[in-house]
Symmetry: C2
Subunit: 321 residues, 2 copies
């Protein structure tokens, strides 16, 4: 047993830390559903608009089997499950924001999962989680990403093996304009939350986050990082910058940087690729996409501008606390 | 020797058809550079604006080696080369359009290339090609994609083996609003161009194109397909629809559909993934990205609308000629 793995059902864990033994899936589910509700309520109060709530069930037949086109998506990776996607578009604070809960299971894992963990091959598995991406309208407010997930792989019947399970999660910020005090405050909050789990937990999880949210094809971090975390801090990401005035210039920069967000999520993000490869629900997976995005050839902000400062000062791995 | 492979240095070939024997790389290069020039000239005359021409050389040190971040990009996949990226943004006809020539070589192929062809492991290789993506401003004009590429893998010294080489190429259309006569005309032109290579060539290359340009995670084709082709037809894709009036409604639909284009290119396109994995030049690879893109949750056009017709009638594999 690993100290970081299941001190409580809401304990958090490096996704690399794996545990075996009994585990109460339904208690985890109840906690996750409550977490989603709590965040939806808090954001509705902030924004003044209501989320659209879209419950979904996984179809029993994979899309690829209905179509004769192309090579099939890995099947039958998923055998059942469903979720609740909560989405807000066109809000005063949130131009597009989604919080999804999902709980799916299957008889066989896609290659993206078993490549790193061959011991999972052949196991029946269950995954559940809450995932959040908020794209604020105001370019001075960062995009926020957060997720908590729980995974359990049951042993092959009669093998006498134990279930393998773990929690994973992360939280990070992607600013379009940087503010020293906001970055420090965010990382301080993360560090404080992780203190009970040992002095090395925050630096270790921060480094892992810096490594993960990195666009290899651009040699560039996605944002200012964050951590893999314990418990949810209040979503105060918007308070300080909400009244900050902006115009076309800032919106245009935001749209270009949102392009990087798209590139990361579609090219490198393991959660997205796992979902798309395993025949997950596309609209729920891609609720992370920003609302309005631009690409321009070889764009470089004017030297000395606030846009250039984002790249030179904020989008570099940095010790914030 | 395969009849479809090297009847001439500008002959075209199914990328699956592989040939061995001597080959004149420099003649292929000359032809490709001329092809790019010819298309740039034709499009400048159509658009009334000039392309920006950006010659580039591959840096000898991979990005990943300059940075301590993250796992390294496969290295040293590329050892040299360069290209010429021609890009036009904000034109009257083309909101964003690029035509790239590149010629790169390396000592080791990335896994995306050797997975399907294990006989290439360990070989020194050279790849060159011209790639074109045109995103017109007018939503009634389709996005056009075209590429021709040439690949040669040299034998390991002293092995006595022959070089392995092939041509590949393709051309396809992605309309935002469908026109029966345009689709039929486009496919007729493709079929006529391929007639000299046998009666089964067009249907075979069309089917392959339909299969390839398919968004598995949406169960949806990217466009109306096309073929893997022989010689370049004049770029008349815009002539018929250039004066077609449009407003916010059509621009908004175009932006949503461009999101699908992004999803295909970043999640499924082998050329893009090969480029990004092998440390290729990101700005040249991603010149295929559309200029303005939108994502909206679970968007469905009104039944009976022209937008709904695109999905039900045009974005289904269909016999156009």
């Amino acid at each position: 047993m690993n100290d970081h793995t299941h001190s409580t059902s809401k304990g958090v864990v490096n996704a690399g830390a794996v545990d075996t033994g009994t585990v109460d899936s339904s208690a985890v589910r109840t906690w996750l559903v409550g977490l989603q509700r709590q965040i939806v309520n808090a954001l509705e109060a902030e924004d003044g608009s209501r989320f659209r709530e879209d419950p979904w069930q996984r179809e029993s037949v994979a899309k690829s089997e209905q179509s004769k086109q192309s090579e099939p998506v890995e099947k039958p990776a998923l055998t059942g499950g469903g979720g609740l996607t909560c989405i807000l578009e066109g809000g005063a604070l949130l131009e597009r924001g989604g919080i999804g809960f999902s709980n799916v299971s299957g008889t066989r894992l896609p290659p993206s999962a078993t490549a790193a963990r061959p011991q999972l091959v052949g196991r029946h598995w269950e995954a559940m989680g809450v995932s959040l991406v908020l794209h604020p309208r105001n370019p001075y407010i960062p995009t926020v990403h957060l997720n908590v997930r729980f995974f359990v792989a049951q042993p092959v019947e009669g093998s006498g093996e134990e279930p393998i399970w773990w929690f994973g999660g992360g939280m990070d910020l992607t600013p379009y304009y940087g503010f020293e005090e906001d970055a420090a405050h965010f990382h301080r909050t993360c560090a404080d939350a992780l203190k009970p789990f040992g002095a090395d937990t925050y630096p270790r999880f921060k480094a892992w986050c810096d490594d993960y949210f990195f666009l290899k094809h651009r040699g560039e971090p996605r944002g200012i990082g964050g951590v893999f975390f314990d418990d949810l801090a209040e979503p105060d990401f918007a308070t300080a910058r909400r009244g900050h005035e902006y115009g076309e210039r800032e919106r245009s920069w935001q749209a270009l940087r949102r392009g990087r967000y798209v590139e990361f999520n579609l090219v490198w993000d393991r959660g997205t690729l796992f979902g798309l490869q395993s025949g997950g629900r596309t609209e729920s997976i891609l609720m992370s996409m920003p609302p309005g995005v631009q690409w321009a050839y070889d764009h470089h902000p004017e030297p000395g501008s606030p846009e250039a400062l984002l790249l030179s000062h904020y989008l570099v791995p940095r010790k914030w606390v």
